[in-house]
């Protein structure tokens, strides 16, 4: 069952930032353009459309400049590999196979030079290999292949870098919104549980999946933060601060989930005096997460919320727990839930309430 759940998540929720979706759309567009060009001008050749698929994936690098360099280098290497393969195959199959083995060695050997060399050397090997499967039948086709391959580069370059370009800054802002959307979704599940709208089993499975999604997003954001180029030292500080806030908030959600999971596991019902403040706190957090916004120049985070109301709701819950007459281990779980609520807005409350 768990395997099926994991498969489901892998199939539908493996792209939280929609980056793969965008990349796939762009690749298909590039492919169609290359196919159309070959169809109208180059006798329906298929080596150039293949090359463009690989070229669209060869852009590893942290900065835009590095990505451009990788793509240009990949284009030269792919083209050379394909045409050298064509030449060697025509010369002798034994020599071609020796080249294939040598290139296989090199494709892995160059991985030592860093992440940028992990993908495109493998594709270069595949391009050489394609000379075996898709060799030009005559010299006209050879020239047509050359023209087709040459055309691939501007198409890829323009599509990748200028049409809906991958801007780390944009990814960061998209992830910012996505993060709070996911936090809201998680809170809504938590709220449904306390409103007794879903069963304990559904709650646990659903929350775990959502929490894992949020954690993956936080991790992804961590690598995005490292690549966002800021022009001002203060902006970098604001980014650091935001990452910390994201981490703290996720920890709060995890704590609230863990406490509620323990309530479920031990079959502890929520006392009547606790339900209203719990629901109120969650309402406030839903509003807060909805209103979260970020300045696209200074990266400062802001949101509209009534600090006093949130404090009152948190206090009401705290006092209700302190007044409960329950065994100490049960009280501790309710207290852990309170700590989770506190943790969710810890950085924010430090900023706005206590200063």
């Amino acid at each position: 069952m768990k395997f099926l759940d994991n498969l489901w998540v892998e199939l539908f929720f493996s792209d939280p930032g929609y980056l793969c979706l965008k990349q796939a759309l762009k690749t298909v567009t590039a492919l169609l353009l290359s196919v159309a060009f070959c169809h109208f001008f180059l006798e329906n050749l298929i080596a150039p459309p293949f090359l463009i698929i690989f070229l669209m994936q060869a852009h590893q690098g942290k900065t835009k400049k590095q990505k451009m360099f990788t793509q240009a280098l990949a284009f030269i290497v792919f083209t050379m590999c394909f045409f050298i393969g064509v030449y060697l195959k025509a010369y002798s199959l034994l020599v071609f196979h020796s080249g294939l083995i040598l290139l296989a060695f090199l494709a892995f050997y160059v991985q030592r030079f860093g992440e940028r060399f992990t993908r495109f050397p493998l594709f270069a090997w595949v391009m050489y290999f394609f000379a075996l499967i898709l060799p030009p039948q005559n010299s006209t086709q050879l020239w047509y292949n050359f023209i087709g391959v040459l055309m691939d580069f501007p198409i890829t370059f323009i599509l990748y870098f200028y049409v809906f370009p991958d801007s780390n800054k944009k990814i960061f802002f998209d992830n910012f919104r996505l993060y709070y959307t996911k936090c809201r979704q998680m809170l809504l599940v938590l709220q449904s549980f306390f409103q007794k709208k879903i069963s304990a089993a559904d709650f646990t499975a659903n929350m775990q999946q959502k929490l894992d999604g949020i954690r993956d997003l936080v991790l992804m954001n961590q690598s995005v933060f490292e690549t966002v180029e800021t022009s001002h030292a203060d902006h970098q500080l604001a980014l650091d601060e935001y990452y910390f806030e994201e981490y703290e908030r996720t920890r709060g959600l995890a704590m609230a989930f863990e406490a509620t999971k323990h309530l479920c596991a031990q079959g502890i019902g929520v006392p009547e005096s606790l339900s209203p403040p719990i629901l109120k706190i969650m309402d406030y957090y839903l509003v807060i997460f909805q209103s979260m916004r970020i300045d696209d120049k200074t990266y400062s985070i802001d949101c509209s919320f009534n600090a006093a109301s949130l404090e009152t709701a948190l206090d009401a819950y705290k006092n209700a727990v302190l007044r409960l007459d329950l065994p100490e281990n049960q009280l501790t779980i309710f207290w852990n839930l309170y700590l989770g609520f506190i943790q969710m807005s810890k950085v924010m409350r430090d900023k706005y309430v206590y200063r």
């Binding site: 793969c20 990349q23 759309l25 294939l100 050997y109």
Partner: protein, 339 residues
């Protein structure tokens, strides 16, 4: 000595070239109609560790069969409807790229569908070709695994042990800071930003390696550890200890009475001892029977703190929550050594 010092990239390079040579040599003796399918499979399945290779190989074979069957069915449905044919081929390319970075198995599934349509477009496609595709994929997968296991193998289990030890080292730092923090007046755990980030990265690395190691374990069937269960336990342990560090900042300065200091010091010592034994558990390759864990009397401290006059009920509850998380961590130790 020279071989032991070879970098992973050199090992992989040698594995790839030897696997490919094997397939090429085999194809010159056996009538393999489409030997290139075996070649490309062998090349693409060369992986960082043997476990990863096994995982990818099983997925590659399974998804080639599944994708081939689905692709063939779709081909027969669409072969007289050009628009549908085009939609299927473009969609399969779309999904290959979509899953390329996130799911190897789904990428392979769609890759096989696109091969069906590509062949149908260029030449023809039939059930015989599907069979050829499947057995050539199996040949390629066999050689990739064979070289991964025989030629300078890199075992995921070794990586798993190293990765677990590194994560436990980070957890030792968490424990150390946690007990220091109890006696501090000004508590700002921003100083642990880097520690938190390291733990997240280290844990995810461990989880990834654990998943891969499962495949080696399945293949060798001699490893007493269950890596997936271990990853779950280590996740829980990491969660409880880091949560304890978060809670500690809510607690006022602990009274510096000699008795309490002694008790907390002993608690810290016991936890560190258990972490150290856990490290040995990994370094000794899971021989759990040889190592016993210390059953730490976490709740013993509670009564002493209950009577601290300067603390409110709220302070006590925070302290109780801290101890609760530590006792959960303690229970995880018990689970670990009972694996």
């Amino acid at each position: 000595m020279f071989i032991a010092n070879l970098r992973p990239s050199t090992r992989l390079a040698l594995q790839a070239s030897i696997a490919l040579t094997c397939v090429i040599v085999l194809s010159s003796f056996l009538p393999l109609d489409h030997a290139y399918w075996a070649m490309i499979t062998a090349m693409l399945l060369i992986s960082q560790t043997l476990g990863e290779g096994l995982k990818k190989a099983s997925e590659r074979v399974l998804m080639t069969i599944l994708g081939g069957v689905v692709g063939t069915a779709l081909y027969f449905v669409s072969k007289d409807v050009p628009t549908l044919f085009l939609i299927f081929i473009v969609s399969s390319v779309f999904f290959i790229i979509y899953y390329f970075d996130t799911s190897f198995r789904f990428a392979v599934f769609f890759m096989t569908i696109s091969v069906v349509f590509l062949f149908a477009m260029l030449k023809s496609w039939n059930a015989d070709l599907l069979l050829v595709r499947i057995y050539e994929t199996i040949i390629g997968a066999f050689f990739a695994i064979f070289t991964g296991a025989v030629v300078l193998p890199i075992r995921a289990a070794n990586k798993l042990n190293r990765s677990a030890e590194e994560l436990i080292t980070q957890l030792e730092a968490v424990l150390d800071n946690l007990f220091k923090f109890l006696f501090l007046d000004k508590k700002d755990h921003r100083q642990f930003k880097k520690l938190y980030a390291n733990i997240v990265v280290q844990f995810l690395l461990f989880r990834k390696v654990a998943k891969i190691t499962s495949f080696e374990r399945w293949a060798r069937a001699i490893d007493p550890k269950d890596p997936t269960r271990m990853a779950e336990k280590l996740r829980a342990l990491t969660y409880y200890l880091t949560t304890a560090l978060h809670i500690v900042q809510l607690i006022p300065v602990a009274p510096h009475t000699p008795l309490l200091i002694e008790k907390l010091e002993s608690l810290k010592k016991d936890f560190l001892e258990n972490l150290s034994r856990l490290k040995s558990f990994f370094s000794e390759n899971g021989q759990a029977a040889k190592i016993e864990f210390l059953d730490i009397p976490v709740s013993n401290c509670l009564n002493d703190f209950k009577s601290v006059e300067t603390w409110s009920k709220e302070d006590y509850f925070n302290f109780r929550a801290l101890m609760y998380n530590l006792s959960c961590a303690n229970a995880i130790f018990a689970d670990f050594f009972g694996l």
